[in-house]
């Protein structure tokens, strides 16, 4: 049985481990910062490039490459923003770091800020994490007193402050340009790229790097072990460890940190998470946050195996790394995996997500604003007993007209669940709607009972 390899979560839930600076330092805390500020910032950026570290905020963009895009010619100040908005449904990995090991994040932020020579750093934390905000503020105060944050850090001549900034309940403020607008004190309306690539025109139109909480923690470990050593963890296309956060229908929901590609979905669902509830079997899973395309158990994927030969995987065979999920037509996203057993109604599951996306659309682009509302209305009607067979294609068609036609990737987040759920579970949609049609026909007699609502259980 594969085992966990805890790097980021090494001390999470360890008995006696606290959020205090003293505790963090007892386990080697801030030693990486101490040695990093003695090096040249460009060297640190190179380490991150050598490590092959990919962003952990959902899109998996190479971190070192992003840092390389910073506009240095403009002479404007550079800002670093840590994205702690964690609001992709199914994701709860950053919360563990913020609540249980805040100094690891702060060390990651300061190391990264030094590497990119940021003038100021922000941690944008979602508003609902009231306690997380207090924990971070307290930890930063401790770090400031110990000279790990603030002026002339450890005598290096480099100074940086960290401002913890609270969001106020908007998913779209997790999108990096929406976040920047929000941090400027405005509505969180995402900006169009080009020209607003944050590394060129970010906060206050200055070069800005936005990285996820976990990414910045990974940076600390890259700098600790060296980029080339770090790159040996995991698989060539995807280095380091991934934190898989399971939710839904498994016996042991929870988080598991596993070396990339060194275990499969089978290992994760059965060995780590204890399989489905008694008497149930798995039906579907969404790999990493609700926006990613759903997989149906029983599906087969034609793939290229590591040795270059052609192969076939079922859902359980998929290795746990970003590239492997891509081969199966989806993506690992944030690793927040939502699992559904055979008791779940797939139309209700989609309808639940459609409500979410309709609520969260910022409203700037017509396809996303109108489309997400239509999708919600259609699937809610189907759930409430008013389904028509043509709704099945309608949902797919509306979704097809959103993806790729919007300012930000929320458009894809709206479309992907529909575009994957509908064709893969068409049989369920048809059966549900046919039963409703029958019930409507016999409305006056003893109508056959149909399931109504979108309560899922």
């Amino acid at each position: 049985m594969p085992s966990e390899r805890r790097i980021i979560y090494r001390h999470i839930d360890e008995p006696g481990y606290t959020t205090d600076l003293a505790c963090y330092q007892r386990s080697g805390g801030y030693e990486v910062l101490r040695k990093s500020v003695l090096r040249k910032p460009e060297e640190l950026v190179q380490e991150v490039k050598d490590a092959g570290l990919k962003g952990r905020g959902g899109a998996g963009f190479p971190c070192g490459m992003k840092w390389g895009f910073l506009d240095r010619k403009s002479g404007k100040p550079v800002y670093l923003i840590c994205n702690a908005d964690e609001s992709e449904p199914g994701s709860y990995k950053d919360r563990q770091i913020i609540y249980k090991d805040p100094h690891q994040l702060i060390e990651g932020v300061v190391c990264s800020a030094f590497a990119i020579q940021a003038k100021l750093a922000f941690i944008y934390i979602r508003g609902e994490m009231f306690e997380g905000f207090r924990i971070l503020e307290r930890a930063i105060e401790e770090a400031r007193v110990a000279n790990f944050v603030g002026n002339n850090i450890l005598g290096s001549g480099y100074s940086v402050d960290i401002i913890v900034h609270r969001g106020a309940g908007c998913y779209i403020c997790g999108e990096e340009t929406g976040l920047i607008e929000s941090l400027e004190g405005k509505r969180g309306y995402p900006r169009i790229k080009p020209p607003y690539f944050p590394a060129v025109l970010g906060l206050y139109n200055c070069p800005t790097i936005v990285n996820n909480v976990e990414t910045l923690c990974q940076v600390k470990h890259v700098l600790d072990m060296g980029g080339k050593e770090f790159a040996k963890i995991g698989v060539p296309a995807d280095s380091g460890t991934h934190i898989w956060g399971l939710s839904g229908h498994v016996m042991r929901p929870g988080y598991y940190e596993i070396e990339a590609g060194k275990a499969t979905v089978r290992d994760l669902l059965y060995d780590f998470a204890g399989g489905p509830p008694p008497g149930r079997s798995f039906k579907a899973l969404i790999p990493g946050g609700s926006s990613m395309k759903i997989l149906r158990f029983g599906e087969k994927f034609k793939v290229k195996l590591p040795d270059g030969s052609a192969g076939e995987w079922g859902v359980l065979d998929i290795p746990l790394d970003g590239a492997s999920f891509m081969q199966c037509g989806t993506a690992m996203g944030t690793g927040g995996m939502i699992v559904m057993d055979d008791s779940a109604d797939m139309v209700e599951a989609l309808s639940n997500l459609n409500s979410f996306y309709a609520h969260e659309s910022c409203g700037q682009c017509t396809p996303c604003r109108e489309g997400s509302l239509w999708l919600k209305r259609i699937t809610t009607r189907v759930c409430n007993g008013g389904g028509r067979l043509e709704d099945i294609d309608l949902v797919k068609n509306v979704a097809d007209q959103i993806a790729g036609r919007t300012i930000c990737a929320h458009g894809e987040a709206v479309a992907w669940p529909c575009q994957s759920n509908v064709p893969k579970f068409r049989d369920e949609w048809e059966a549900k709607i046919r039963a409703q049609m029958q019930a409507r026909e016999h409305a006056d007699e003893n109508a056959p009972a149909v399931r109504k609502g979108m309560r899922l259980v």
Binding site: E131, Y171, K186, R187, S247, V457
Partner: protein, 167 residues
């Protein structure tokens, strides 16, 4: 505008930390709501003056972000997560039970003014679903079976002497 000295001083300390004052918007509004329980028109005007923006620029923020409100609510703010991971583990039944036991309709405030019950979207604790937030505290694994006891406990904790929720 009658802000407690504590809040006003907090705002004064906050503003110079940001490269531009307007950036402190959400933090100032949070501070006001956590003192007064909501954002009044007067508070928006005060904020506009502090941040050197127009009142409409504050208003458009208050109306965009779900956590801000323009009127007081019940003494306890009960927020039930309804998104997929919680729904798969019974969130809708939890919400029914809380509504019944707290005598409070969804999106409404109970007659005695004690509770406001709302659905919210994923609060990033999906592994311990179903999740219910009460004011600024998160409560995990509140299954439909546990919901009645959870409601009973909330009822005993909540007294008429408490001010409207500030969270």
């Amino acid at each position: 505008m009658n802000l407690l000295p504590k809040t006003a001083e907090y705002v004064e300390r906050l503003l110079p930390r940001y490269p531009q004052k307007r950036s402190a918007m959400l933090m100032v509004l949070h501070a006001i709501q956590e003192e007064q329980g909501y954002i009044s028109r007067e508070a928006m005007e005060w904020t506009a003056q502090k941040l050197e923006v127009t009142p409409i620029q504050v208003y458009e923020v208050v109306t965009f972000y779900p956590m801000f409100r323009q009127a007081p609510i019940g003494r306890r703010h009960v927020k039930v997560c309804r998104t997929l991971s919680c729904a798969l583990r019974g969130a809708y039944r939890v919400c029914d039970s809380l509504q019944e036991n707290l005598a409070c309709g969804l999106g409404q405030t109970s007659e005695d003014g004690n509770f406001t019950v709302e659905f919210v979207e994923c609060v990033a604790a999906c592994g311990s679903a179903p999740v219910v937030m009460v004011d600024d505290k998160i409560h995990e694994n509140i299954t439909p079976e546990k919901a009645p006891d959870f409601a009973a406990k909330l009822k005993t904790e909540t007294t008429a002497a408490m001010p409207p929720s500030r969270h």
